[in-house]
């Protein structure tokens, strides 16, 4: 199995975010994509999820161009969640999770025999079984995010792409969500997320991809990728790389910004 970008140009309405970009989603890993604002993290994810069409180049899923595949066929192998999914009014949690089964349905079969069990399992895995009959709009941000993840799980895909799944969550829910990502990986899925917090990325993800101005500048295990040079070049900060006392993963502490007056780019 493989999901990759081949020499793609990505952008919106004429603004190019990345051009000539090659990228292979690290198979079987929980990968965190990090990088400064506007470097193209979300754009990369959208291209892989078939949400954004590259203006040049191809996105390949198991060797096939994503555009040559029918949308449901892609959605059976790649699940994606945008940064701000909209919670429909008067929809119950269970019904939302059940929407993850949509790619498997046809016009004539809107429900399959195994669906109920898959939906239940997804709710158990995300710890939302108790919320099954609640209205989505009545839930807290943290609960709601778990419901969205359950929907993605019910999709039963090999690839799970999440765009900043921890934003707007409090610390406990952030950690909870990152553990869920680890669980998905342990379950055999390939997880790719955009994360903002470098330390969380280094601690929970098994693989880091650093994106800068539309180019992949580093990729590998957190301990290999995070260097003081990278912090200066990409993030514009003078940082020290220590070790997380709990997990023994790299931990970044910022001393100062590199360029007084802001991030200066050649």
């Amino acid at each position: 199995m493989s999901l990759s970008l081949e020499n793609v140009t990505l952008g919106y309405d004429g603004t190019v975010v990345a051009s000539g970009l090659d990228f292979v989603v690290p198979e079987g890993e929980f990968t965190a994509v990090i990088g400064p604002n506007g470097c193209g993290k979300s754009t990369l994810l959208k291209a892989l999820a078939r949400v954004l069409r590259p203006s040049a180049g191809r996105v390949l899923l198991d060797g096939d161009d994503l555009r040559s595949l029918r949308p449901p066929a892609v959605a059976r192998r790649v699940a994606s969640l945008p940064q701000h999914p909209i919670a429909p009014e008067s929809l119950r949690v269970r019904d939302l999770v059940a929407r993850g089964r949509h790619p498997y349905h046809s016009l004539w079969r809107q429900w399959l025999p195994g669906d109920a069990a898959i939906v239940d399992a997804a709710m158990v895995a995300t710890g939302i079984t108790d919320l099954a009959d609640r209205l989505l709009t009545d839930l807290s941000g943290g609960q709601r995010q778990r419901v969205w993840i359950a929907m993605v799980l019910a999709q039963q895909t090999n690839y799970v792409l999440l765009d900043e799944p921890t934003s707007f969550l409090d610390l406990a829910h952030q950690v909870e969500l990152l553990h869920l990502c680890q669980d998905m990986r342990a379950d055999g899925r390939t997880v790719l997320t955009v994360l903002h917090d470098i330390n969380q990325a280094a601690r929970y993800a098994s693989h880091l991809v650093v994106l800068d101005r539309g180019t992949v500048v580093a990729s590998g295990e957190p301990a290999e990728v995070l260097t003081t040079e990278l912090l200066a070049d990409v993030f514009g900060v003078d940082g020290v790389i220590g070790t997380d006392p709990e997990s023994r993963t790299p931990m970044v502490t910022v001393r100062a910004r590199v360029h007084p007056g802001g991030l200066v780019r050649p």
């Binding site: 959605a75 790649v78 945008p82 909209i86 429909p88 429900w111 109920a116 993605v152």
Partner: protein, 330 residues
């Protein structure tokens, strides 16, 4: 699991019953009415004479047109509202009715030989095409579609007003009746056109709600689940426009049915689901009852049916605006 909701089924059953009752009243009330005792035999081809004439020539086609036009408008409105996520949306908003009016006005002035439905259909089609090309994105962006529609509608009204003001007075009065939507001239051709369009559009429309429901979660989320947002939206608006266009060609731009029918159905069933059939049935009921009133009720007797739907719809729109305002959504 995907449940056919009991409430929805009950609602549809009751609406069908109400349509049947109102239809019976339409056929049997008044001086020319077919007596109730003769109605079954007249319907199944046994009666002759006056009853057959009333059924086949006078009230039958008019009633059938009312039902079909109403169903088309209800269907059209529910697709349009779901796709624009706007309870005040309806094909009227994109200048369809106004275009039809302008089409009739212009043809009656310049080519008096052409029947009004042809003029209406052409005008509605032209208005829709102008909107489609003005947005630069087709019907993919609901906001742009509505803004372009308002502009096209304004221009179409200007054309209509121009024609009305240069025309002779009695011809203008006739035209005016058509411009608000009327079933006075409904005949078998209208039944045929609207019937065929409904037969084609309804099954197509029933395939859309599943995808449209997923679009409520945002385009990117829906795309992640294998829905093509642009294609779904375009399909819904095109079907909505075809349905409304056929209705307009048969009865003129009848106001507010497309707007109110889906809202009434949704509120009564209390569901967030997009019900194509409940909305179509509700539209049919509104039209039949409005036309029954236009035929039999003192005070409003003889008025074009569009005036009645305008009055009732206006009240309902006011109520809707007030309740949305109270909820703080406007």
């Amino acid at each position: 699991m995907i449940p056919v909701r009991r409430d929805a089924v009950l609602y549809c059953g009751l609406t069908v019953l109400a349509v049947l009752l109102a239809s019976t009243a339409t056929l049997s009330l008044g001086r020319l009415g077919i007596p109730l005792t003769e109605l079954p035999s007249a319907l199944f081809g046994g009666a002759g004479g006056k009853s057959a004439f009333v059924l086949e020539r006078l009230r039958g086609p008019r009633l059938a047109t009312a039902v079909l036009v109403g169903a088309l408008l209800g269907l059209s409105g529910t697709l349009f509202q779901s796709v624009t996520r706007n309870p005040l949306g309806s094909p009227d908003v994109i200048g369809l009715g106004a275009g039809a009016g302008a089409g009739v006005a212009v043809t009656s002035l310049m080519f008096p030989g052409i029947p009004a439905p042809v003029g209406a259909g052409t005008g509605a089609g032209a208005a829709t095409l102008i909107v489609f090309f003005c947005t630069g994105k087709g019907f993919r962006s609901p906001t742009r579609t509505i803004i372009a529609g308002i502009g096209v509608a304004a221009m179409a009204y200007a054309v209509t007003q121009y024609v009305v003001s240069v025309k002779l007075r009695d011809a203008a009065a006739q035209l005016a009746a058509y411009l608000v939507g009327s079933l006075n001239a409904a005949n078998r051709d209208d039944v045929l056109i609207t019937g065929i369009v409904l037969l084609v559009v309804l099954p197509c429309a029933m395939t859309l709600p599943v995808s449209m429901r997923l679009l409520e979660m945002g385009d990117d989320t829906a795309a992640g689940l294998g829905v093509d947002p642009d294609r779904t939206r375009t399909a819904a608006i095109v079907l909505s426009v075809i349905a409304a266009g056929a209705a307009v060609a048969a009865a003129g731009p009848v106001s507010f049915v497309a707007l109110t029918a889906p809202q009434i159905a949704r509120r009564v069933i209390r569901s967030s689901e997009i019900g194509v059939i409940p909305a179509a049935l509700t539209g049919a009921l509104i039209m039949v009852v409005a036309d029954l009133a236009a035929q039999q009720m003192p005070l409003v007797r003889g008025l074009p049916v569009g005036v009645l739907t305008l009055g009732v719809g206006g009240l309902y729109l006011g109520h809707l605006l007030l309740s949305e305002h109270r909820k703080g959504r406007l």
